[in-house]
């Protein structure tokens, strides 16, 4: 077994941030995705959308400058970039569903090689679940990137031929950032773009159910 150090939450967030071009409108989901904003250099102007009705979300403010009326979709107190705006939920999801966002970054439980995403429930139990804005974002953003651990804590693969959990949306994911690799979702399936240092393609494949392509 080769020497390799999987990316942690911060490392994954920073890796995603590298790939976001200036000028993009981006929504960041709950969890690791929320951390991405901290790693986009200040001189690169990216406009962050939050589904609770904000464009131009800025970083967490200093404690004495907190505004209790200004939270992001993860319910964290945030600031507003000059040029930011507030609007209602119907408008916020018009922006999402209407394909005006260049990108959303979502957490995931499972991603299938055809781009299916599962990130809101681990079983089909009726009447409970945490859909939030994920289904709208998954169908609405021009690019859907998923960031997650490459496997579950128990070592079960999350990159699958077919999702076993209930879907968030079919065929929506365009790229996956894991603790071990960056993979594009292409016509033929997962195409590996980047692997962390010290891990071979074969070793990555061994931790992945779906077939990987170079």
């Amino acid at each position: 077994m080769s020497e390799h150090k999987p990316l942690g939450r911060t490392g994954m967030a920073a890796r995603v941030a590298q790939d976001i071009p200036g000028g993009w409108y981006v929504n960041l989901g709950i969890g690791i995705p929320t951390l991405v904003a901290d790693h986009v250099p200040a001189e690169r102007e990216v406009i962050f959308h939050s589904e609770n009705g904000i464009l131009g979300v800025g970083p967490a403010p200093a404690k004495h400058r907190e505004n209790p009326w200004l939270i992001n979709a993860s319910s964290q107190r945030v600031s507003l970039h000059p040029g930011g705006s507030f609007f209602d939920h119907a408008m916020s999801f018009a922006i999402v569903r209407g394909q005006h966002l260049d990108l959303c970054v979502l957490g995931g439980f499972q991603v299938a090689e055809n781009g299916d995403l599962a990130n809101w429930a681990q079983s089909a139990e009726a009447g409970t679940g945490q859909i939030g804005g994920a289904m709208d974002l998954a169908v609405g953003a021009k690019q859907v990137w998923v960031v997650m651990e490459h496997t579950t804590k128990g070592g079960e693969p999350r990159l699958l031929q077919r999702c076993s959990y209930p879907l968030t949306a079919p065929r929506c994911v365009t790229r996956v950032y894991t603790s071990l690799a960056v993979l594009d979702v292409a016509e033929r399936g997962f195409v590996v773009r980047d692997i962390i240092a010290g891990l071979s393609f074969e070793e990555l494949q061994a931790r992945t159910e779906a077939k990987l392509h170079r």
């Binding site: 939050s50 589904e51 609770n52 009705g53 904000i54 505004n67 209790p68 009326w69 200004l70 939270i71 979709a73 319910s75 964290q76 107190r77 507003l80 507030f86 609007f87 209602d88 939920h89 119907a90 916020s92 999801f93 999402v96 569903r97 089909a124 139990e125 009726a126 009447g127 409970t128 679940g129 945490q130 859909i131 939030g132 804005g133 994920a134 289904m135 709208d136 169908v139 609405g140 209930p166 879907l167 968030t168 949306a169 079919p170």
Partner: protein, 232 residues
Amino acid sequence: MIDKFVRSMAEAMAGIKDGATVLVAGFGDVGAPNALIEGLIEQGATDLTLVVNSGGRNRVAGAEPSGLTRLVALGRVKKMISSFIRAQSIAGELVRAGKMEGVVIPQGTLAERMRAAGAGIPAFYTPTGAGTLVAEGKESRWYNGRECILEEALGGDVALVEAWTADRWGNLVFRDASRNFNPVVAMAGALTIVQTHHVCDLGQLPANEIVTPGIFVDRVLHVPAGDPRPVA
């Protein structure tokens, strides 16, 4: 003279019936009409259908449960429509025990269904939820190469709203991210009841800055409720 201000919580809550569908604005505690929910607990209506974005949030150790959670825990809600009902929340446990019906729907669909009710649009197609459990039992068809499902308007007998400032015509403005579901809920209620932090004379709200025109509003109660609770 048109005067939508009411002078007491009892007046604000008058006439809400058992079995009513109640739309509740807010995203977490920000923009949530918490005083009106307390009023509804007091008022006593039961067998409610509650429509609210996050109806089943986690318990926070040491914190007083929200009014919404207490309304649910009191058994006053027979059905909850929400984008977010955690299995481990009080609402989630009632759902899993078969004591309350839970319907989890996408947040954007929730907003658009209420907006549709307010706008006289009885149904619309959306790509959100197609190919998922949300689509079960719904009509679907393809537009521009994407599957879309038919969703119906979701109006309420009652809508509960929190505003920042209101005038006697019921014109409303909201503070920052507390706008969220408030304008949507306001337009979707047959009886729209508002709690407002501030009141002002008619004409003090600039005409270009009014977010919810008073035509959607029936009653306004002045409740200087203070800032939303810190996030747990």
